[in-house]
Symmetry: C2
Subunit: 429 residues, 2 copies
């Protein structure tokens, strides 16, 4: 007798077959035949003898990582880690679960995606949904007002994940945040520079980083849209249909010059908070120019981020190419072309720490999170990943070229050979 896992797999395959026939509008006879096979399979599960009833699987939306996948993860994390450390960040760790009330009221609508722990007669707990809220709780609890910290750890969301796109219910976030009082936009620009550096170094194809400001969005939504519509039709000669798309602003993309133009815009300039946002975007782009990252960073008024806690600048990094998912989970075993899309995001959240402080004292914060997803291109590129067996390695990547440095890495060398080995290496150079 076939085992339960095999039968369940057969049921899934058979179910797919039935659905396919129905969508193809196959003959009733044909469909009935396949449905009957499906029912037979389902009956088999019911007739099981009670032995070895285990369904051998991981929880929905989660996965194991085998040694090869772990080697890739290590490589990716080392790149990210190297960037975070280069920017002078320290790391902290927080528990995987928090008091439920710590997470309450921080995520808006997304709160329904939080995993709760069962009430087993103690505190009410939830799995962390991101690393930002635990970070704010940590700052408030330890009365820290100034820190550059990174945190690479798993977070949990009861989402309906598209696993073929690398989305899971358990996934890693790599967070970098700057807390403390600084001149306006300096830490914000550093966070964008970090996203730029990491996406460049990971070498996962071309990317763009969209930037917007929460206050510009809020300002836009507060506008008297009837008047905006009238202006669009009468003054700018747009058709009424186009004008009805109140998201007209939202199609705007640009850089510093767009922020300047919008500051002159009659409607936009009526909103104090939109002006504050636009002024900050202008200042931000002046720093981004100094950092030489404006080739990939774009001011995009359509960018919105769901979480409640953002108060200023928001940003998101996107891969612009579609990749081939080597392990796309379709039943035919064929490869699927998938779009990975957003891979990093963040923004300014000046109010979050204050929500935890008994006296409401605010600690201004800004940060980026990089999502770790299964990446098809890297998967095929990095077949080796471990530096075993190679006694002395000089690493000369894009970043090292930029910085004018060479990374020198050495493995175990026998003591007797040490001097000779280094001398030989240096004389060869």
């Amino acid at each position: 007798m076939a085992d339960k896992a095999q039968i369940q797999e057969a049921i899934e395959v058979q179910g797919e077959e039935v659905r396919k026939l129905k969508s193809e509008k196959a003959s009733k006879e044909q469909i009935d035949e396949e449905v009957s096979k499906l029912l037979q399979l389902k009956a088999q599960i019911g007739e099981d003898d009670g032995k070895h009833q285990f369904v051998l699987k991981t929880a929905k939306g989660t996965r194991d990582y085998n040694p090869k996948q772990m080697a890739i993860r290590e490589k990716v994390f080392n790149t990210i880690l190297g960037c975070f450390k280069r920017h002078g960040a320290e790391t902290i760790d927080t528990p995987v679960f928090e008091l439920k009330e710590t997470l309450t009221g921080k995520y808006g609508e997304d709160s329904k995606l939080i995993y709760d722990l069962k009430d087993q007669g103690g505190e009410l707990l939830s799995l962390r949904y991101d690393l930002t809220v635990p970070f704010a709780r940590y700052l408030a609890m330890n009365k820290i007002t100034n820190i550059k910290r990174y945190h690479i750890a798993k977070v949990y969301r009861r989402d309906n994940p598209a696993m073929t796109r690398g989305r899971y219910r358990e996934f890693y976030q790599c967070d970098f945040d700057i807390a403390g009082q600084y001149d306006a936009m300096i830490p914000d620009a550093e966070c964008l520079k970090i996203v730029y550096e990491i996406l460049s170094e990971l070498d996962i194809g071309d990317f763009r980083i969209k930037v917007n400001d929460r206050r510009i969005l809020d300002g836009m939504f507060a506008m008297p849209w009837k008047e905006v519509r009238k202006e669009m039709v009468s003054e700018k000669g747009l058709s009424e249909e186009v004008a009805d798309q109140i998201g007209e602003y939202v199609s705007l993309q640009g850089g510093m010059e767009l922020a300047e133009r919008l500051l002159q815009d009659q409607k936009m300039s009526q909103s104090k908070q939109a002006c504050a946002g636009l002024t900050d975007i202008k200042l931000l782009f002046s720093y981004l120019q100094l950092f030489q990252v404006t080739d990939k960073v774009v001011f995009d008024l359509s960018l919105a981020r769901g979480l409640d806690y953002y108060t200023g600048i928001i940003y998101e990094g996107f891969l612009t190419q579609t990749g081939i998912a080597a392990e796309a989970q379709n039943s035919s075993g064929a490869e699927e072309s998938v779009s990975v899309g957003s891979v990093a995001g963040g923004g300014r959240y000046d109010g979050l720490v204050g929500m935890f402080d008994p006296k409401g004292r605010k600690v201004p914060c800004v940060g980026a999170e990089v999502m770790y997803k299964k990446n098809p291109k890297l998967l095929s590129q990095l077949q080796y990943c471990e530096d075993s067996g190679i006694p002395l390695v000089a690493i000369l990547g894009e970043q090292e070229l930029k910085d004018g440095v060479v990374k020198l890495r050495a493995a175990d060398i026998s003591r007797a050979d040490l001097i000779a080995e280094i001398k030989r290496k240096t004389s060869e150079a």
Copy 2:
């Protein structure tokens, strides 16, 4: 008005004061006065205005790690990781939660300590209790019969933790396991060698590794204790009281010679499974002698390990010294002398993978887990931990001396300086 967290702290301090006075049998007046203060504090909590009601804390039995503590953790993990890799292990990762039924029936009485997730309308899930059961599930699911794997990750137990001893509800385990068919006791001996190497390299004080065999324990419990008692009194001249301590065998400690002696023991030799265990212990010690680790490994018949899944050799590593816990959590703020005790453990579990396999196919496995606890001695020893700013480091530790190698590690060097730097280093050497 003081905030809630401050008041709750004050309530705890005041509660302690009251208990102290009661235990000291202080005067009724004195106790009444302090009780009234306590009630006032409790009333304050009730009168709170509903604003900022957050209790700023981590979940019971969990803690944050600050950057200094993280640097120590990194140092410790690098040592452990280095040992695992030296022994040729690969790493895997599994989700933090499993289907509840995956954990069912694996931990005996300890099952009550498993954290369950709330039923939010999907699968029933539990947080992993160890890394061994998920590993067995992984092997069965992927039909892997041969692997040396390590896994460093957090596990969860709803224990009443003694946090001053470094015990928490969320803690790291560093697991190394060998799955597959090998000549008897070869992988078991390697696991013990790894515990020996790690405890030596971590330099956390003297240690012992106790070894026993599940079958010897089972054999002992199956013995006719009345006869054993009679024999002890009549033949060995022991007092009746001593003989009544049926745990007489259990006080025995030794090495290979003890296993040999017990194989001759009339009672012990009647149990087939005890004999099998003793024969394996003998063979194990012959390998341990070759590995030169018998100075710290002791055959100890008192050693028992709680988990249901062990089938053969079991072992546990203990620190023999008491340390000073720098952050002992007593109210006076004074340091406390604490015993860390068991820091590593493991054994052979030949039946576990078969419990997941629909056909019950067994995969013999053996492995060690090293518990990561806050370690007082390391805490004071490692104040720097990061190798930043030092361009070229030669590491010559105990292990490197033993292996006759030097670990050479280099940081970023400017390209222009590369040749000069290495030449300078080598000419100095």
